[in-house]
């Protein structure tokens, strides 16, 4: 295509939009931390409550990510390789958390495990606190990050096809062996990519966790809730400091994502 004024117009519109919406605000964060004082930001990051908040976030990730990885792979295999009644429904339900508001998720959990909910009274009787404690936060985090591994695995499984698996069966491999030796290696980049995206989602979850956590500083506060806490207490430096920390994590995730992507072919 000849390089006309049109090419340039389109390019500058695209890049201009990215600059205004994405790049400029991002660079502002670094600038704000600088202006407010790095020492203040550092104090906010090393505050015991903040460190505790990051620990909680890490715990949530450590539980939700492996569970969703296993679930995603199993689900992906079931959707692509098997035929069973209600398959379309499963397929749609896996995508549901993508379209559903985290607030609605959090609120449903809140009702379910609340004093009058279906499961709430049972847990209270047995002395287990679900709401405003780690269990509910884990549930919320798992729920919102369910789709990502499955979504990466499904197209890759389709593309790979099942010839190799069938060959393995013909050669006498058990289904367990086939999975570990043939299927998993062929989808491993998709799985890793899915894991990275899942981790990012768990790190950044706000809405669902905010509702069920009760938001108690030093106890059930996650890193994202900590940002809001600082902000509402008019501690701008603190909010920007913790935000910067999360931002650095996000950029690290992004770098890993970009490094992984080309191996899957451009898509």
């Amino acid at each position: 295509m000849p390089r006309t004024w049109r090419t340039y117009a389109v390019r500058f519109t695209a890049l201009g939009y990215l600059l205004v919406v994405l790049v400029a605000p991002l660079s502002m964060l670094f600038w704000r931390v600088w202006v407010e004082g790095i020492d203040k930001a550092w104090a906010a990051i090393t505050d015991p409550d903040t460190i505790h908040a990051f620990k909680i976030t890490l715990i949530l990730c450590a539980i939700a990510v492996p569970l969703n990885t296993v679930f995603g792979i199993v689900c992906g295999l079931a959707i692509v390789r098997r035929r069973f009644p209600g398959k379309g429904l499963v397929n749609a339900f896996v995508d549901l958390p993508l379209a559903l508001s985290p607030v609605v998720v959090g609120f449903s959990l809140y009702l379910l495990y609340g004093r009058t909910g279906w499961f709430g009274p049972w847990f209270t009787e047995h002395g287990i606190q679900v709401l405003f404690a780690l269990p509910a936060m884990v549930l919320a985090t798992i729920f919102v990050s369910v789709p990502f591994v499955a979504r990466e695995v499904v197209p890759t499984l389709r593309e790979v096809g099942n010839e190799q698996e069938q060959a393995a069966y013909t050669l006498g491999a058990s289904s367990w062996q086939t999975f570990w030796r043939v299927t998993l290696p062929s989808i491993r980049w998709a799985v890793i990519y899915g894991v990275v995206v899942t981790t990012a989602r768990c790190l950044g979850e706000y809405g669902a966790v905010a509702i069920v956590s009760g938001n108690i500083s030093g106890k059930t506060e996650t890193a994202t809730l900590r940002v809001q806490d600082y902000y509402e207490n008019l501690d701008q430096a603190g909010a920007y400091g913790v935000a910067l920390m999360l931002c650095v994590l996000a950029i690290a995730v992004l770098v890993v994502m970009t490094k992984l992507k080309p191996k899957e072919g451009v898509a």
């Binding site: 390019r11 695209a14 939009y17 994405l22 549901l96 508001s101 609605v104």
Partner: protein
């Protein structure tokens, strides 16, 4: 969700038609529609630039697109506030206005359309366009008759995903919108606040509406997928 049915259909209707709830829902749907349209336009242009244009640093731009997916949304809200808020270095003060909400939601939903249109554009055969051009078609006609029909399903499903995401978004809005009832209070924040205040009936009623929007969007996307694949087979 059971809660709102327990209150009965009548209670549900009463809760949904509360002026504040109606205002929040209207605002949310209106703003989401605007954001979806902005995404449809700019998302397509960005995808086009990434596929058809060549310039230095393109791979960096391509990587940056995913940033809103990786970044916690509450940080996104803070970012927009830092640039367009009270201490704005560029002199734009949008904090606690509807424009700020639109802006931050554009940030959050940026990748959807780009990422659905991009692969389709890659696959698109440029020879068809060349053929049209050599037959004397003008640039805009080539686009509207050949490029657009093939990327339209991608645009639509991307827009639908972005719309669903934006309707339910909360993290980025909490900080920047100010949450003034009847002015900048979005449905998600309404559910959140009513839930926190123990007003479960009001919260679950609006939550049910949001849930139906999500289902509708999923159905819509499923329909587009089916149409698109049938088109391919034919």
């Amino acid at each position: 969700m059971w809660e709102s049915r327990a209150e009965g259909l009548h209670g549900f209707w009463e809760a949904v038609t509360q002026p504040e709830a109606v205002a929040a829902l209207k605002l949310t749907l209106g703003i989401s529609a605007i954001v979806a349209l902005i995404n449809a336009f700019f998302g397509t242009i960005i995808a086009w630039t990434l596929v058809r244009d060549e310039f230095r640093g393109k791979s960096v731009v391509n990587a940056v697109i995913d940033l809103p997916f990786a970044l916690p949304t509450i940080v996104a809200g803070l970012l927009i506030l830092a640039l367009y808020g009270p201490h704005s270095p560029v002199g734009v003060h949008l904090a606690f206005t509807r424009s700020a909400i639109v802006l931050v939601l554009c940030f959050v939903s940026l990748p959807f359309v780009v990422r659905t249109v991009q692969p389709v554009l890659y696959e698109l055969d440029e020879q068809m366009e060349e053929a049209a051009r050599s037959l004397g078609a003008r640039e805009h006609k080539v686009f509207s008759r050949i490029v657009l029909p093939s990327i339209l399903p991608g645009i639509l499903s991307g827009v639908a995903m972005a719309f669903a995401r934006v309707v339910g978004e909360i993290g980025s809005i909490v900080i920047i919108s100010g949450n003034l009832p009847f002015k900048t209070e979005m449905a998600s924040v309404y559910v959140f606040n009513q839930g926190q205040n123990g007003n479960s009936a009001a919260a679950s009623a609006v939550a049910v509406v949001m849930l139906s929007v999500s289902f509708a969007v999923l159905l819509f996307i499923g329909g587009i997928r089916r149409l698109a694949t049938r088109h391919e087979r034919a």
